[in-house]
Subunit: 386 residues, 3 copies
């Protein structure tokens, strides 16, 4: 009976094999099966949509430029009336951050020389001891040190801060982003925004969420800090720009979302050297002698942190995801078969069901082996039918 069809035996090209099924007519089991499959499908779909498993992702590549504006005026006993512009209070610029000095300790006319130490520290910060003792004031003698003299006064920073009005300074942040994998470019100055609007807008989370000009006071307030407080000792504020982009055609969205956060430890007493300060100097020569004015600048460093990712539908990701969940449908049958075999049915039903589901056959070789030991049964040719 296998005559003509046997000709195409390699690879079984002329045969199609499919499982023989036992069909149990049972509303209970049928409903259970479909209910379970439905639950699995639902869970898989929810996971798919919730985690966007159908997308491939790319991380942002970003470029930032900042421009601070504003001018402050101070009137102190030491220096009289002084105007501070951006060159004075923002001495060094960086790519992704800018520093605004808000408080100063100024030590004028320092020269290299020998002078009495101001205070006795474990680590002498800016001087080398000469080993000689000199008068510091009428009552005290301290060690003489080689240093830039006079030594910087280690008093605490002025309170309130000298440049508290820096609160009203503004900063323009330009941010160009790119997702290399999708060849997608965008700027935080949105193309649909009007040029005149840009010239006078100030960022506000509710009313002007896409204005790229920020008032420093608003930024600090957005980080839940008080500008007057942070201005005294300085600190680090993060300006986070979050791009969560969906580049699919119908859900297309790619807008910057700004948020602000203090990045250093707020509570002075819980940390070492609280706040943020650094020293810089302006050097002069007069009659061949070099002198310098030392500035200990306390201030706020604003770190512009751009992060984001873009997702785009990827057929490969979807196929892999579906493939890795398909197997769960097989578990429905495994589970219901186990259910039938254990609990739901009477012994009789199980017996009948089992007879239809399973056809038993005995391994011939093992039976032979067993019988050799038991010496009681015939040997059958091939497998034993039980």
């Amino acid at each position: 009976p296998r005559g003509p069809a046997m000709r195409c035996s390699p690879l079984n090209l002329c045969e199609y094999e499919t499982s023989k099924l036992v069909r149990i007519k049972s509303v209970k089991l049928g409903s259970l099966k479909w209910a379970l499959n439905g639950v699995i499908l639902l869970v898989i779909c929810i996971m798919l949509l919730w985690n966007k498993e159908y997308q491939e992702y790319d991380l942002v590549v970003s470029s930032v430029t900042t421009k601070v504006k504003g001018v402050a005026q101070t009137n102190t006993a030491d220096f009289g009336e002084v105007v501070w512009d951006v060159v004075d209070y923002s001495p060094n610029e960086e790519k992704n951050s800018f520093f605004v000095a808000t408080n100063f300790i100024v030590t004028k006319k320092q020269k290299q020389g020998k002078c009495p130490e101001v205070c006795l520290l474990v680590f002498s910060l800016a001087s080398v001891q000469t080993g000689v003792c000199v008068k510091f004031d009428v009552t005290t003698k301290t060690c003489e040190v080689s240093a830039w003299c006079p030594i910087e006064n280690t008093k605490k920073p002025p309170r309130p801060a000298l440049l508290t009005s820096a609160e009203n300074f503004t900063v323009l942040i330009k941010n160009n982003i790119r997702f290399p994998a999708f060849n997608f470019i965008r700027r935080n100055i949105l193309p649909e925004v009007d040029g005149n609007y840009l010239k006078k807008c100030i960022y506000n989370q509710r009313t002007d969420p896409y204005c790229p000009i920020f008032r420093l006071g608003d930024v600090v307030q957005g980080a839940r800090e008080n500008f007057a407080d942070i201005a005294v000792e300085g600190g680090v504020i993060g300006i986070q720009i979050n791009w969560d982009c969906d580049l699919n055609r119908f859900f297309n969205s790619c807008l910057p979302k700004y948020s602000f956060r203090r990045l250093d430890e707020k509570e002075s007493n819980r940390t070492l050297y609280p706040g943020l300060n650094f020293r810089f100097a302006r050097y002069y020569t007069e009659n061949g002698v070099e002198s310098r004015t030392l500035y200990k600048a306390f201030g706020i460093r604003f770190d512009v942190m751009v992060f984001g990712k873009a997702g785009k539908f990827s057929i490969v990701q979807l196929i892999i995801y579906i493939g890795s969940t398909l197997s769960y449908y097989a578990l429905t049958t495994v589970f219901i078969d186990w259910l039938i075999g254990t609990s739901c049915y009477s012994k009789e039903s199980q017996q009948v069901y089992s007879e239809r589901k399973y056809e038993s056959v005995q391994d011939r070789q093992e039976v032979k082996h067993t019988h050799t030991h038991n010496a009681s049964l015939h040997l059958h040719p091939g497998l034993l039918l039980v």
Copy 2:
């Protein structure tokens, strides 16, 4: 009949169950099955190779140092003949970027004081109004301001740019990268490159793609910009170093690929404060009075952006990938069974096929339930055979 074998019942260690199959001798169905399986295998293999799903990835950790070389000479009415070296035109260096000033507005001998405002801006950038009105020139009166006087001229930057010859400056970029997960280190100065070659080479995409010395004019041209144009108002150019490394033994490749791109908005009229400029000052004292020379420097910031990833064969990734695609082969049978049941075959064939494929059995309990209502049939012990 289940005598000796039943002894090993726990875990069914002595039974092996396998599906009973219906074998349909049909060249059409057999070929269809193998064709479908072949297509699935092909798609899976293409996806595997195309997306390199068999690899695990690590992102680059990078360190960059740059060194700009070159000198320019200007001859202007204001300053006479001046030579600009790297200290003058590249005032601040950063880790991953360098700035080359190409144009200047210089305001000499500024002193703190009061002077007439130059122009009436909404935001006064560098001065505080005193509330007094003074003569600005013969015909105009403006408000008096406290500021560094004289106030910087808000004229446009010189055109052509003062240091257009910065085009011929060169920069050496050293880039060390590392893939921590694979403990793999590499430099952009390739070990096989000759020392003498390095001393005189200039990067060229075609002829010298691995030379780490770049002519600034070439970089700007590579970003499809005109150096003379960008030099006037400044801008940001990205020097992208892309490391796409395959660390597998046979496909081993890990070479830097350079590309250039303008990162800021090119068209002046479409953006606020186009280009790139910042101010810095040199401070002097004469006879105890501080003065400064204010420089508004326009220039090009070159951001060196290193990105890349390394892939290496991972047996775990491969197993997961294959596992998530294995299920698709089961779909072949599901599909063909559905095909047989619906369209391809005559009603008669379907009937015969169905009889062989399915063995039906009626749930005893539900039949009883049904019959209680219908009161017409016998109750069978166990499941009903249909």
Copy 3:
């Protein structure tokens, strides 16, 4: 016989289909099946635990501030006794890195003018040739150049380095990290660490692994370099802070791990412009004439590189992982069926087994087709039973 049950035919809600199985009573096959399944389970579990496939990951967002302390004294023929404090030796600060100058070539009182070239370079670094020849010393004539005169001496940096004592400087590194996806914040100054301890501790890999204050000499030594050597020409040292966090409840751990590595090429002869140096100047005016002191500073740039990732149990990741491995269990049956069909059993056994496993049926249409050609067999209604 399909009376009442047929009412719920859509979706087959009232039918449950399950594979008909052939049960072979064989200890060998049964054991083999369970052994294979056990091996698969073991491999899957090992992969799961080893690669933590049950976790979702987030990359670190980091903020760094550094504060260098220390003072050095030099006594050279040229300058006499000079004290260097942090303002002098660390001229520019950056967000994630700090520079400590360890060696200087100082050129005092440079003025714009014309002077003889010191040496003949291919690329003239800091001067423009005027085309005139002038006496350089008694025996040599060189080309006259426009430049800041006198031109910087291109001699090699002093050996030993001027500020070799920078080895004893210390740096406090503050690092705040965040994992945005898990809203988890942490600092490298651990909350359980005592304030008094912090004031005097120095990092040591064994005894003080969580002290945030580093002695520069220890850092360089940790990178397996000699401070006195690297101080001469400069270099780049990476201070890597690795946060490998497990945010699950029971395995909770998130501690910084510091490591040090030299990032530039160590061997001078293998690279172009070895070490690290940059020039800066201090500008002066006397009687309206600008002069400058040029510093070529050799030194060590310390790059603070923060990287890390946090893992947290994710039910979705676990479900996808298990789903993509479930398919492998099906392979056990495929493999054993193939085994039975090929090698282990005698022809007779295979025949018997095959008869039970497979029910063959001939495609009616193809038989008809074949018979049309062969003209030898009856046409059967429906599929042929073989």
